[in-house]
Symmetry: C2
Subunit: 321 residues, 2 copies
């Protein structure tokens, strides 16, 4: 990869680690190296503008690493929203682009709200079904604040994740009953059956519906592959098929920016100061815990576990001349 692209990709991984989202941090490096060496992703792929019509932008990732096209598209949406106040950039021809909050948060220094969604390989069934045809298609939203941490939500529409379930399987412990279904589409607490089976959505039909909508917005606007068209968990993602969508909303187009941001501060403070249920030590608005983690990691360094470190060394040996 060119130096700039490599830097951008590395930044996106470290941005996840520094907020404590290690599942999307440098832990991914071995997998990404594999994608670049053997998975068909083009290290020199370049995102291009497919169409550009007022507040509507379409980008083709050119089979670059997902981060490259995603960053490019979010940048275009933000620039356009300076003129139009709202802009949407839809991406096709892409690949896994990491944690979505990274793109949404890029809007914050511009006093914009950032929204990012992506297609994901299908791991859920339609509500009442058992075929793995719906992705957990995460959504991230970042809302600018004044003195408090920004409101940053990044959530997939599954209750849990394969990563968390694998930890339970390693420990030989049962998973909570709300996390997964077995291959027959019935709730299971057996971690091994869950891995073979399906992730449960949040809120039953609501979560599946939200995932379908996020998937459609992430792929059908740009002409990217949706759901199982983009690959499957057994064989992995098809290189250059993925899709995402990015939205920038310019606060100044609607409301006095200082007033908006001070009201966001008020919401964060209201949550922090509200009464705690038994067993809770602190209350956070979305992104508040991650902001605290970031402040602490920036002072003290980011702790990486043994397995992540070994993965980095192994990947490094693989690509060293």
């Amino acid at each position: 990869m060119g130096g700039n692209d490599a830097q951008l990709l590395a930044d996106s991984l470290v941005a996840a680690d520094v907020r404590g989202i290690h599942s999307h941090g440098v832990l991914r490096v071995p997998d990404y190296v594999e994608k670049l060496l053997a998975g068909g992703v083009d290290p020199n792929g370049r995102p291009t503008l497919v169409s550009d019509r007022a507040a509507a932008i379409v980008v083709d990732g050119g089979n670059s690493m997902g981060q490259i096209g995603a960053w490019f598209a979010m940048g275009l949406a933000i620039e356009r929203a300076k003129a139009t106040n709202v802009a949407v950039a839809a991406v096709r021809g892409s690949n896994h682009c990491g944690a979505m909050f990274h793109y949404a948060m890029r809007a914050l220094p511009e006093d914009m709200i950032g929204i990012a969604m992506t297609n994901a390989l299908p791991t859920m069934a339609p509500w009442g079904g058992k075929d793995k045809i719906v992705g957990i298609n995460p959504l991230a939203v970042a809302i600018p604040s004044q003195d408090e941490p920004p409101v940053v939500l990044d959530a997939a529409f599954s209750y849990s994740s394969h990563g968390k379930i694998r930890v339970y399987r390693q420990k030989g412990e049962p998973i909570p009953a709300t996390w997964a279904y077995d291959s027959d589409g019935l709730p299971t607490t057996d971690a091994a059956k869950a891995i073979e089976g399906l992730l449960q959505p949040i809120g039953e039909y609501k979560g599946v519906g939200l995932a379908i909508v996020s998937g459609v917005l992430s792929t059908l606007l740009s002409g990217a592959s949706y759901g199982s068209e983009s690959g499957n968990m057994a064989e992995g993602a098809k290189a250059g098929h993925d899709g995402h969508v990015f939205i920038a909303i310019n606060v100044a187009g609607f409301e006095d920016v200082a007033r908006f941001k001070s009201r966001v501060d008020g919401i964060v403070q209201e949550i922090r100061g509200s009464a705690r249920a038994v067993g809770t030590s602190r209350l956070y608005a979305p992104g508040g815990l991650e902001a605290e983690t970031e402040a602490s990691y920036r002072r003290e360094g980011i702790p990486l576990n043994e397995m992540t470190w070994e993965g980095l060394e192994c990947a490094s040996r693989r690509v060293s001349p």
Copy 2:
């Protein structure tokens, strides 16, 4: 109310009933009559344009019934999106505006995606808390299709609703453990404690986060009241404080419309034709069941229960000269 406004309000209620969403249908008439006679909502309130900047529109509902300002704003967003391809209309000075899918679906005949969100009176706590300061702030999304029913999602970010819990209380039955917390913020299966307590979000912190984001977008862009600023469940909503937000995305700005709609058909068909888990008789994409209900009710009429009918008669007597 003027004839046109009364018609628009009635249409919105019947639009909910005809899709089987009776909780937001003419069941609401007595409550709405109360709002108009004694609740401070202005029957002759007129929505006005506050600001109009490219893809960003702000509307003041003028303390009209929520449906009047919401319909006005969604109409402006759709008209603007014909030029800019994406448009957002934020509303303040409003009141309860009924089922959100009604506004989202208005985008469909224009081959646009419609999105609608609203502030709601707070009935949830922040994650880990017990103060009632977060609304269930529903989101609706409508996506145009070709021959299949459109994909229409309308979901609040609570697992269940006060209406459903009241039915359990009437029957003296316990509610599922995922529906509510008691006043201490602990899960309860006691319907009476649940009514006094809090609604549980979908997917724990995810649902609360989604609700907060939906609430911020619905209120802070327009300067409407957020959460407890807009009232509370004990004393009701403050007239003319509510906020909503409406988004129109013009498919033609991004993608060939026929291709987009035919791919939506494909997703609907893939879901319908996929394997069913034990106990499921049919699978639906979001809005598929409601479309079937609508087809059947349009043939056979809309069944209203005794209590709804009595409410209509009672409200009718109250306003008859």
